[in-house]
């Protein structure tokens, strides 16, 4: 795997045209290119390849390291990027455990870091190490609220929950159950399944026995197909909700017709073409969608790419501002300037929402970062935006 990751690095160096002017800006990335989270890291890495190679006349050099979905590796990678690659900023990590593990390293070295992980504690509360962390990803709370509100509007009174038996499932359970209580929706079943489960018949029978109006499947990627198919096989007639964790083409490929009619809250960037013309993010979302689809083919948009793309937008926004305050040759000063520029982001439309950073919020997304969509004929059909 080391070999592959060197190959990736080599590709990036080639892309970035190594050997340019001395004062290049180096941006490091820690992504999960192998291991269980590879299906996150790989589309993110594909997106980074599309990011600008030059910003405000400065060559940008990208160095991508693989953390093998392992927090220990992520820490090592971050140290390597900071100490030997002299990066001005870091993008990553892909997953919450890695991002949390890196906090100490990037905070101590004072390197602005744009995380792609969705864990709330990666970026909140903004103090200490977290002052250096920015998060262009919808929090689970935001997505859960949108999902619950849509459920309530659809007249759902009793809902069953089935989620991964890991941190992702737990995070969703916490947020979703709180939101559901607030909206007076009864949760009649709470079930868990392993990402690599061979069957979920037991859980599904339990759910059906509790007679819910709708079921929420809180999982990510292709493993989320299993509960959906099993529910339909055993004869569940109500609505099935998924989360934005499944907003990638592979989920559609594996689930096929079985997932028609599934509802989910997702990043509006994935349905860029269907967004209303007047919306603030139409233009920025279309720019992402067109660039990405041109490089990787139609219907290749996915949740993880939108976040990585917006990480690139952050840099495009902040680097020109930072250059006015410090030269990239003065690494410490430039990192600080970059951090201030990032913290100063106001009304920046990205591929998946409008960003407004503040002293207490380095995520900056609001309900304009959530679209409600339905799966129809193997594609995403926008139902409601802004939510």
């Amino acid at each position: 795997m080391r070999l592959i990751h060197h190959a990736f690095v080599a590709t990036f160096l080639a892309f970035a045209g190594i050997g340019g002017a001395m004062a290049d800006i180096t941006v490091g990335a820690v992504l999960s290119l192998t291991g269980p989270a590879a299906s996150l890291g790989i589309p993110e890495q594909k997106t980074l390849q599309l990011l600008p190679k030059e910003i405000a006349g400065q060559k940008i050099r990208y160095v991508v390291l693989d953390d093998r979905s392992d927090p220990t590796e992520a820490v090592k990678d971050a140290k390597q990027l900071i100490e030997s690659d002299k990066v001005s900023a870091i993008i990553g990590a892909s997953i919450t455990p890695s991002a949390l593990a890196m906090l100490d390293v990037v905070g101590t070295a004072k390197v602005p870091t744009i995380t792609l992980a969705s864990g709330y504690n990666v970026a909140f509360p903004v103090s200490g190490n977290r002052e250096w962390v920015f998060m262009p990803v919808q929090t689970t709370a935001l997505m859960a609220r949108a999902t619950v509100q849509y459920m309530a509007a659809q007249g759902v009174r009793k809902v069953a929950f089935i989620g991964f038996d890991n941190a992702l499932g737990e995070d969703w359970w916490k947020n979703f159950s709180a939101e559901a209580r607030a909206s007076k929706i009864d949760i009649v079943a709470d079930e868990r399944f392993a990402p690599n489960a061979t069957a979920v018949t037991g859980q599904v029978l339990h759910i059906i026995a509790s007679q819910p109006d709708a079921v929420l499947i809180a999982a990510s990627g292709t493993p989320a197909v299993l509960p959906e198919k099993t529910l339909r096989q055993i004869g569940f007639k109500g609505r099935i909700y998924q989360t934005h964790g499944v907003a990638n083409p592979d989920f559609l490929r594996v689930c096929g017709d079985a997932c028609d009619g599934t509802l989910l809250s997702l990043s509006p960037g994935i349905v860029a073409a269907q967004l209303p013309e007047g919306s603030e993010i139409k233009q920025s979302a279309m720019r992402f969608a067109q660039t990405y689809e041109k490089a990787y083919g139609p219907n290749s948009l996915n949740q993880f790419s939108t976040a990585a793309w917006d990480a690139g937008l952050f840099l495009e926004y902040a680097i020109p501002k930072a250059l006015k305050m410090a030269s990239p040759d003065d690494l410490v000063g430039f990192r600080k300037a970059l951090q201030q520029a990032l913290a100063g982001i106001r009304n920046l439309p990205g591929s998946q929402g409008v960003y407004n950073m503040s002293a207490t919020n380095h995520n900056g997304l609001d309900e304009r970062a959530v679209a409600i969509a339905e799966i129809q004929k193997g594609g995403w059909k926008l139902l409601k935006y802004p939510n």
Partner: protein, 346 residues
């Protein structure tokens, strides 16, 4: 819990058990003949299933290149041994043995119109690939250390598992996939819909296990394998080559592994690293059989499948915990029942 639900869970448990049973069989066979605890059985499963997925999607199954690579390494290993004896003419012969089948498969895979072929023919090609895969793994990884301790062989298995896991990501990508059922549809049995696919799974497993039983009982090769399992040195004195026995055991493990992988991919989503946990459950079943008895391992598989199914109903968050906890009382009971024994024997 109503009777209906129990029936459903029972059916689901038996379907799972059929797959775990196949895995347990392969693990017991490989351990009995070669003393290898074959952790990568799970990878053979996923490689088989994902190769079939790739074929059906119109991509050449890259597994075949791995086979060619392994064949070259095996030839190299044989070549070194041959050069030491000085009989250079045998080099070509060794090349044909090690590389013949992989190259033939390579030719087949790239010349046949794979995506348009019948499902059964595609499956046959996958089974053939895994039938070559197993023995090559044995030749390259285990045969050079055939006389080492069980612990060394176990560590080799762990290393091979990690290597194959990474290769799996490279060959098949990170995303999961599913295979279509052999036959769509279902019928009513006692008021419960039974899918035809679960009949396929249970039926084919029983037939395969029965065929293997007959093979071991009545055929000369089967008897040779059993003899090696009972006493390696004794069998060698009777003219049964342990290398041959090892290759034969891995050949069967390869075919059974690929078949179980294809079966499970028709019921669930399989990605490149799904094999490990499924393989471990087969391993629990094999342990219940003491890594020696096929019928007890089959019973163990039934226990694992049913436990998993019912546990997923009552306490889904702890399902895997409950399944793997089974192994503790079993180990206690087995070690008390069998008393002292030397692990290097058998």
């Amino acid at each position: 819990m109503t009777f209906d639900i129990a029936l459903y869970l029972g059916q689901n448990g038996v379907t799972l058990a059929a797959i775990y049973g196949l895995l347990a069989f392969a693990l017991v066979l490989v351990f009995a003949v070669t003393r290898v605890i074959f952790i990568p059985q799970g990878e053979i499963m996923t490689f088989g299933a994902l190769s079939l997925v790739a074929m059906r999607a119109g991509h050449p199954p890259l597994l075949v290149w791995l086979l060619v690579g392994l064949g070259i390494v095996a030839w190299f290993q044989d070549g070194l041994a041959i050069l030491r004896t000085g009989r250079k003419r045998r080099l070509l012969h060794a090349g044909a043995i090690n590389l013949g089948a992989p190259l033939l498969l390579l030719l087949l895979v790239y010349s046949l119109p794979l995506p348009t072929m019948a499902y059964s023919q595609q499956i046959a090609i996958v089974l053939a690939m895994c039938a070559v895969f197993g023995p090559l793994l044995y030749r390259v990884v285990y045969a050079p250390a055939a006389k080492a301790s069980v612990l060394t062989l176990l560590l080799l298995s762990v290393a091979l598992h990690i290597a194959l896991n990474s290769l799996g990501l490279l060959l098949f990508g990170p995303e999961g996939s599913q295979l279509p059922a052999f036959t769509d549809g279902s019928f009513q049995l006692g008021g419960m819909p039974v899918s035809l696919q679960s009949l396929w799974i249970i039926g084919s497993s029983i037939i395969l296990l029965a065929a293997l039983f007959l093979f071991f009982r009545f055929s000369l090769y089967g008897k040779a394998l059993r003899a090696t399992a009972v006493n390696r040195t004794g069998a060698q004195l009777m003219g049964i080559s342990p290398v041959f026995a090892g290759r034969a055991a891995f050949l069967l493990a390869g075919i059974v592994g690929a078949w179980s992988g294809i079966l499970i991919a028709t019921t669930t989503v399989i990605d490149y690293e799904a094999g490990f946990v499924i393989g471990l459950k087969g391993f629990v079943a094999a342990i219940i059989g003491g890594l020696a008895s096929y019928p007890t391992a089959a019973a163990g598989a039934l226990l694992v499948g049913l436990t998993e199914s019912f546990a997923s109903f009552w306490a889904s968050a702890y399902k895997d915990v409950i399944v793997f906890l089974l192994i503790i009382p079993v180990l206690l009971w087995r070690s008390m029942a069998s008393g002292q024994h030397d692990e290097e024997e058998s």
